[in-house]
């Protein structure tokens, strides 16, 4: 698999940002480990989910500090969001999105989907013509187009300073506490993606794939 420089740069810096954002996020969660739906909420009785307190080894910093965790979280949010925006510009401008990630109508027919699912379950990962398969396109598309931007949007939705311009989206999801719940839900969805992503890389020539994502892969003949 060949990867452009922009892909490789973004892939690793994005991963580094997400690690810091997630671990500082767990620290922030510990300040008030309850999630609500709607515009407001503060007591356990109003919560739809009461979270555990995340242990020190999983948080940044490694001890409870809302102030320090927020410093990390709100600072690293910048390279994360700007990086994502720049990457989208790159993949749109260079046609990478249209050529490699966008799915086509025939791929959505059930026989094609079933065949791709079966290949995955057989751990048959030979890329035909070095292209992403349907499930890859779908998952990368969802991560790039929904989950990652979703983290930025829900983060802004929680911020009182952005409230005046975020009001339409706040109304759409039910309010500020709904945004906060979605912020947590999308974050954990990204964790689920990470686990799946790493598992599949490990199952399909991990050394070559890691090399390709660092050096760019072999040139086409």
């Amino acid at each position: 698999m060949r990867h452009a420089l922009s892909t490789r740069l973004w892939h690793w810096t994005n991963f580094a940002c997400l690690v810091v954002l997630f671990m500082s996020g767990l620290n922030i969660s510990n300040a008030h480990p309850r999630l609500y739906w709607g515009e407001w909420g503060f007591s356990a009785a109003q919560a739809w989910l009461v979270l555990p307190k995340f242990p020190g080894w999983s948080t940044i910093p490694g001890y409870y500090s809302l102030a320090s965790a927020r410093d990390w979280h709100t600072a690293v949010a910048w390279p994360f969001a700007v990086g994502l925006a720049l990457f989208w510009l790159a993949i749109l401008a260079k046609g990478h999105f249209k050529r490699d990630i966008m799915t086509r109508a025939p791929e959505w027919r059930w026989p094609a989907i079933r065949a791709d699912l079966a290949a995955h379950l057989r751990l048959d990962f030979d890329h035909v013509g070095r292209k992403y398969n349907f499930l890859q396109k779908l998952s990368y598309g969802l991560v790039l187009g929904l989950l990652l931007p979703g983290m930025v949007i829900t983060g802004l939705g929680i911020s009182p300073g952005m409230e005046p311009v975020m009001r339409p989206l706040l109304d759409a999801v039910g309010g500020r506490q709904s945004m906060r719940s979605l912020h947590f839900i999308v974050a954990w969805s990204l964790v689920a993606f990470l686990i799946l992503h790493v598992a599949l890389v490990l199952l399909s020539n991990p050394l070559r794939q890691m090399r390709d994502m660092i050096t760019g892969g072999e040139r086409a003949a």
């Binding site: 969660s29 515009e39 320090s68 927020r70």
Partner: protein, 245 residues
């Protein structure tokens, strides 16, 4: 036993490393830079006068919890609370042409603004309440700010963990229409746990900026000589001064 100790030591060293990084001057400057970007980009994207959402009364939370200080632990405050705060004064001092000392009656007689707004605590929770009080801009115009006044500092009667609470905002937030000195919550006199008799509302920022048990308003040119120099009780303890994010 030795190997376990070494592994534990390496683990502790790694975790300690992250903490050490955040204590470094480089990290602090980067954090300050990011805070500045949030402040300027938020004001650029939303506009100085943009209002936080004001809700219908039906959205009011049935109970408005307290946080931080929930009273002022002095016999003077106790006695004043029982009597309805007859001798309470909100002083307006510093870089003003006409220093003031307002009684609660003075404050009640000023034109009032009532707003049903959502309070967002930095911890993550929110509550909606109906606040009533005069706009800070009105009080500041009455006192006549002098040129050179850049920040408004709020002095409070309460101490938290032994240190006096205080806060500060800049002129943009000071003159924002929703920045009021609230003395009523949900149609009744402000409860003790929510800052009786007076608390600040700064609706575009997180809850710790909304100072309670207000005793004084001070116009200053710099936050440097006040408290720990960071502009507020929680800011002196590592929280961000601009709390819009």
């Amino acid at each position: 036993m030795r190997r376990r100790g070494i592994i534990a030591g390496i683990g502790a060293g790694f975790l300690g490393g992250c903490a050490k990084v955040s204590e470094s001057r480089t990290a602090q400057s980067l954090f300050d830079m990011a805070e500045g970007w949030h402040r300027s980009s938020q004001r650029f994207l939303t506009g100085r006068e943009a209002l936080a959402t004001e809700f219908d009364r039906s959205h009011i939370s049935p109970f408005f919890r307290g946080n931080g200080s929930q009273t002022v632990n002095t016999p003077e405050y106790r006695a004043a609370a029982v009597a309805g705060f007859p001798d309470w004064r909100l002083t307006v001092t510093g870089l003003v042409a006409h220093p003031l000392a307002l009684t609660l009656e003075n404050i009640r007689r000023l034109p009032q603004r009532t707003q049903v707004t959502r309070h967002d605590c930095v911890e993550g929770w929110s509550a909606i309440g109906e606040w009533t009080g005069p706009q800070l801009s009105l009080i500041l115009r009455g006192a006549q700010l002098l040129p050179g006044a850049r920040f408004i500092v709020f002095r409070c009667a309460d101490t938290l963990n032994g240190a006096p609470y205080y806060e500060s905002i800049d002129m943009i937030d000071a003159f924002h229409p929703q920045t009021i000195v609230a003395h009523r919550l949900n149609g009744q006199a402000l409860p003790e746990r929510n800052g009786a008799p007076l608390r600040l509302r700064v609706e575009r920022q997180l809850g710790y900026k909304h100072a309670k048990y207000l005793t004084g308003i001070e116009a200053v040119a710099s936050l440097a000589g006040i408290g720990g120099g960071q502009g507020g009780y929680w800011e002196d303890r590592g929280y961000q001064w601009y709390a819009g994010i």
